[in-house]
């Protein structure tokens, strides 16, 4: 039996009708056509599907859409400014060559942005541990860690610039 739910995705509230067994990632990709969130595995291990649910990173491939009813979701599409200016973490991935094929990148960036919430001064070692649930087949991780280090710093500068305004 289909269920009616309401999701606020990237600030926009939408009513959706989904099956109880619809995954959040399928609601995002298929119902809302936001295909930036990827599916890289069937075992909840790769992290390509990471989004923020009420501000916290979760695997959207291991969350039911009905479990997100009434809650707020941010996907990779929700990070950049409306004029297209990249989020500081996205800019850092670009600057530091934190991606090659880019398949893992949406999940990496969403996880990395969530790290700023819990540990804005994370060391390279702490960054590696935080990204344990995000698998990359291309980069060898070094540039991802550099990008996250620099992205965390840029987010702090951005935050203090905003606070000063």
């Amino acid at each position: 039996m289909p269920v009616s739910i309401t999701l606020t995705v990237n600030g926009k509230t939408t009513a959706l009708t989904v099956e109880p067994n619809t995954l959040l990632v399928d609601a995002i990709r298929q119902h809302l056509s936001l295909t930036g969130t990827h599916v890289g595995c069937d075992t909840s291990q790769c992290g390509a599907c990471v989004v923020h649910l009420d501000g916290v990173s979760v695997k959207s491939c291991t969350t039911l859409a009905v479990q997100a009813d009434g809650r707020s979701v941010v996907t990779i599409e929700g990070l950049a400014a409306p004029d297209g200016t990249l989020h500081p973490m996205q800019a850092a991935f670009k600057e530091h060559h934190g991606l090659q094929c880019g398949f893992c990148t949406p999940g990496m960036v969403m996880s990395a942005v969530d790290l700023a919430r819990v540990n804005p001064d994370a060391t390279p070692d702490e960054i590696r541990h935080w990204l344990e649930g995000n698998i990359c087949r291309c980069t060898g991780y070094h540039n991802i860690v550099k990008a996250v280090e620099s992205g965390l710093q840029a987010m702090k500068t951005g935050a203090s610039a905003q606070a000063a305004e």
């Binding site: 909840s44 695997k59 039911l64």
Partner: protein, 264 residues
């Protein structure tokens, strides 16, 4: 995934009523074990009963000489909680070492204990710290809770509402992680409690177990050196592609020594 219906009960009693009335209905907590199982079509529940909407199942409180943790409290919350970190740092470390951040943001202690995965971390905490599992109808001693591979003392439809951990004098947890899944190849909780030393091992056998010889040795001297020469019998342990039974037996002693050294 097979199809199922979805229920959002508003109380523990409502959830239990649905689960008791329908043998094929299943509770969902964080979904970090159940949803992957459903995706692989290894289970076919008629209905999912979402505990996420049930009030009163989350939170951590100090109750005399014990910590009471609601069943729906996530691993991330336990790991970051100031009370847990100061009163029972071994449990904060155990919860913070489960899976990865996104798993810890959804996965719950009640779901982990109910699931009784042989490689899960929480069973070592429940048995090693002598915890009590509180359900909608009774209290079950940790020592009596885990009855076998993915088997527990829970009756059909019975829900865990909280876990009560008596505070030890000191405790330490060490695990040898599977590098891909982070589950325990072997995990050992060592605790000095009011009633003596407890040593609980997860990951190694079909279900969590205590090691009497290690408990005796540590009662005499709470040092890593006291465990020298004490090992468990590989005959009862698991062999899989990650580790042979003999290697797991070896790891039990190594992890027990590290747990003693980590005990605070």
């Amino acid at each position: 995934m097979y199809t199922f219906s979805y229920q959002k009960p508003s109380s523990v009693a409502d959830a239990v009523a649905v689960l008791t009335g329908d043998d094929d209905a299943k509770a969902v907590a964080g979904g970090m074990t159940l949803i992957p199982t459903l995706k692989q079509r290894l289970a076919q529940p008629s209905a999912l009963v979402d505990l996420g909407s049930v009030p009163g199942l989350t939170g951590i409180r100090r109750d005399g000489d014990a910590l009471v943790i609601g069943a729906m409290t996530t691993h991330a919350t336990v790991a970051a909680d100031a009370t847990v970190r100061s009163a029972l740092p071994a449990l904060a470390a155990l919860a913070g070492g489960i899976g990865d951040p996104a798993v810890r943001h959804r996965g719950t202690c009640g779901g982990s204990v109910a699931n009784a995965d042989p490689a899960a971390d929480y069973p070592a905490a429940v048995v090693g710290l002598g915890a009590t599992v509180i359900t909608d109808r009774r209290e079950i001693a940790g020592d009596d809770f885990f009855t076998g591979l993915f088997e527990t003392a829970l009756e059909p439809g019975e829900l865990i509402t909280a876990l009560r951990f008596p505070l030890p004098k000191r405790a330490g947890y060490a695990k040898f992680r599977n590098p891909a899944s982070r589950y325990a190849v072997v995990g050992v909780m060592v605790a000095e409690t009011a009633a003596g030393i407890r040593v609980a091992v997860t990951g190694a056998g079909p279900s969590v177990f205590r090691v009497a010889a290690m408990e005796q040795a540590l009662n005499a001297s709470f040092t890593a050196a006291a465990l020298e020469g004490i090992s468990v019998d590989a005959g009862d342990l698991n062999t899989d592609l990650h580790a042979s039974a003999e290697y797991r037996a070896h790891l039990v002693t190594v992890m027990a020594r590290r747990a003693v050294e980590a005990a605070r």
